[in-house]
Symmetry: C2
Subunit: 405 residues, 2 copies
């Protein structure tokens, strides 16, 4: 048994893979299965278990990937966004550094327990966090698959293994490479446990049921079918959902929150942080449905909460304490207010600070409570599982190791 972050897990006896499909709103699967495009998944749902789970809010990539591999919410592991305001230095920084991680991962624990663990991510930004303290095993990204070394990644010649060129960071192939690598690692028996994590480039552009989305899911279905055929226990989940975020005029439906604060309490006095921010913003313009706000001394959070709640398009405005309790977030890293917009709305800082020229499709994005529903699918029966419990995407390893073996 492993005891990690106060949850216990059995050591797996079958090869086991947890797949995190970035931005996989459950309707992507439903539409693709309904129209006959995912024969493997249709069979897996008929013979295994298909649950809809809740992911972590903010419904962003880093917090949820870390929750899945630690089995706990951000209040425990510390990663509450892709991006944060570091109060100790007064600077805004990416949250990719392992110094922000407060909890050990199951991946490292499984490696310590003698399992051959392989982690493949689409973008390199997640790789170090996911591979933290993995003393053995394989850990690389599609993005930098041409730069792997035994020392850093536990593997060489990934491009030869996968037989694909390094994909563009803005492409469906960046995710396909993850699946293709997973299948090759399984075929060459280099791993007992895998964690595969894709990118949501396709989901940001294509709605469920459209050909752009269906092509992605047909591709995925084929690779997962091959893993299944090799006897792998497969748990499929997602970091977050995805929704259209445009107004009736077809433009992004944005609440510019820094501009609002500048008007209400004076220019530059509040600091609005958008934790969706990362270096790859072409497909969403750093616009999501979640923001945190640091207020200056002397401004009442509860008074601002009252005023901001009245702004049309706001789903929730919570104080630090309320947000930390409701969403299980680290209170020391989320600002004085947490702001969530409605399903079709996104939150920006100032109009002048968002470059939307890269958006070549109507905006789709995430971050809010309206993107909290995600798949949690296992290609096995799960005897003894209490179906009335609240399921989270970070129960993926619990289902995989404690019920599916």
């Amino acid at each position: 048994m492993l005891d990690i972050n106060h949850r216990t897990y059995k050591i797996p006896t079958h090869p086991t893979v947890v797949v995190c499909v970035d931005g996989c709103e459950p309707d992507y699967l439903g539409q693709a299965v309904a129209t006959g495009q995912m024969p493997w998944l249709k069979k897996a749902l008929a013979t295994g278990v298909g649950l809809v789970a809740e992911c972590v809010v903010p419904t962003f990539t880093n917090p949820n990937n870390l929750s899945i591999v630690t089995g706990v919410p951000p209040s425990v592991h510390g990663i509450c966004g892709n991006y944060l305001f570091d109060t100790s230095t007064g600077t805004e920084v990416m949250m990719n550094d392992v110094k922000w991680l407060r909890a050990p991962t199951l991946l490292a624990a499984l490696a310590d327990a003698g399992k051959r663990v392989a982690v493949v991510t689409a973008k390199d930004k997640l790789r170090k966090l996911l591979g933290h303290k993995m003393k053995t095993g394989i850990c690389f990204s599609s993005e930098k698959s041409d730069q792997v070394s035994l020392e850093e990644n536990g593997i060489t010649n990934v491009l030869n293994l996968v037989d694909m060129p390094v994909p563009d960071v803005y492409s469906a192939e960046l995710s396909e490479f993850v699946f293709a690598a997973g299948v090759k690692l399984a075929e060459t028996k280099q791993a007992d446990v895998m964690y595969l994590s894709t990118t949501d480039y396709i989901q940001h552009k294509h709605a469920p049921g459209t050909e752009g989305a269906n092509a992605f899911y047909r591709m995925m279905d084929k690779y997962l079918g091959r893993l299944d055929a090799m006897g792998w226990v497969i748990v499929l989940t997602a970091d977050h959902g995805m929704n259209a975020k445009i107004g009736m005029d077809g433009q992004p439906d944005v609440i510019y929150l820094q501009d609002w604060f500048d008007t209400i309490i004076g220019a530059g006095r509040a600091r609005v942080i958008l934790p969706i921010t990362d270096p790859y913003v072409v497909h969403h313009g750093a616009l999501g449905s979640f923001a945190t706000v640091y207020l200056p001394e002397g401004v009442s959070a509860s008074e601002i909460q009252r005023q901001l709640s009245a702004v049309k398009g706001m789903e929730l405005v919570l104080t630090r304490e309320q947000a930390a309790a409701r969403f299980e977030l680290p209170a020391d890293r989320i600002g004085d207010l947490v702001v969530v917009s409605e399903r079709s709305k996104v939150i920006g800082t100032s109009a002048a600070r968002h470059d939307l020229t890269g958006l070549d499709a109507p905006l789709r994005s995430h971050g809010g409570v309206t993107e909290q529903r995600v798949p949690l699918i296992v290609n096995r029966q799960l005897p003894g599982l209490d179906h009335s419990r609240r399921f989270r995407n970070f129960d993926a390893f619990d289902l995989a190791l404690n019920y599916a073996q």
Copy 2:
């Protein structure tokens, strides 16, 4: 001035049309405008006013059409579904008869005030309710456009006027006929005020942004552009939104509520009513996200409320009094409990009583609070309008007559 149901309206000085686009989730418009398919609407939004309003819950056709033409919620006009349990006779009946209507309509009042009023609906089921007590004017449906008479409809030879054959009741043409008739009535100067109401056949089958939906909205845009060019004030709204209602297996995601009650309190003791029910159920199988329940003597509504609220997929379970207050419904017509399911879920009676063989596309439906957002668009500036107020689709005539003239 007209004083109708305790709201006042100015007599219009310009030709004015209110258009109710059945099932028009705002994203249909956003996706179509974003991809250049609705040039008229793009211009109307730039030069007029585009609001998102809340429709009436239950988010069904009859309650909302009657709210739009009376300016008040169902608590006042009495039409709270397409279908209800008539407690006086102990039978389940369609709510199309004018005997259920408790409030006068603006359409009849405008006709009484000397305006030439024309009402065109897609399906005939709404015609009598909408035309109630209209002593003059035109009122007919596409569905029965070959059966009009001066006595009953105030017009003859509609097919000649519109120059289209009678459309099939399951077709996009059933709605196109409404728009085409509106344009012809305007061109031939037979009306000063029109109410045009379509059917959601297309919206039940096609998601926003898909070609099936876009073709409908291109068609609509062309007709509304022609009305605009003739100088008509146009208010565009909807009776309700529309969402995909399937599970990851591609099948309708149904909570069979009669089966649940039969298990909990005994077979046939509770009576589950689905107010979406109408004679035309091929495209939704009578599955929506709203139900009412009549409980037998001696069963505690609050105890059942507690148990049913715990069922996964339930958005709201309200007692009669709670639902009447929250959704402004007539308490004497909604049963002991009102049940609303989540965005992707629908409520059925018993599995055996729903014929889903007619569903030839993944289910899309409505009825719940997740389908409450609708467009409220006016092709004019609205000087003096307070944009902070809560907008309802049944403010359409208020905006048209009191602000847009």
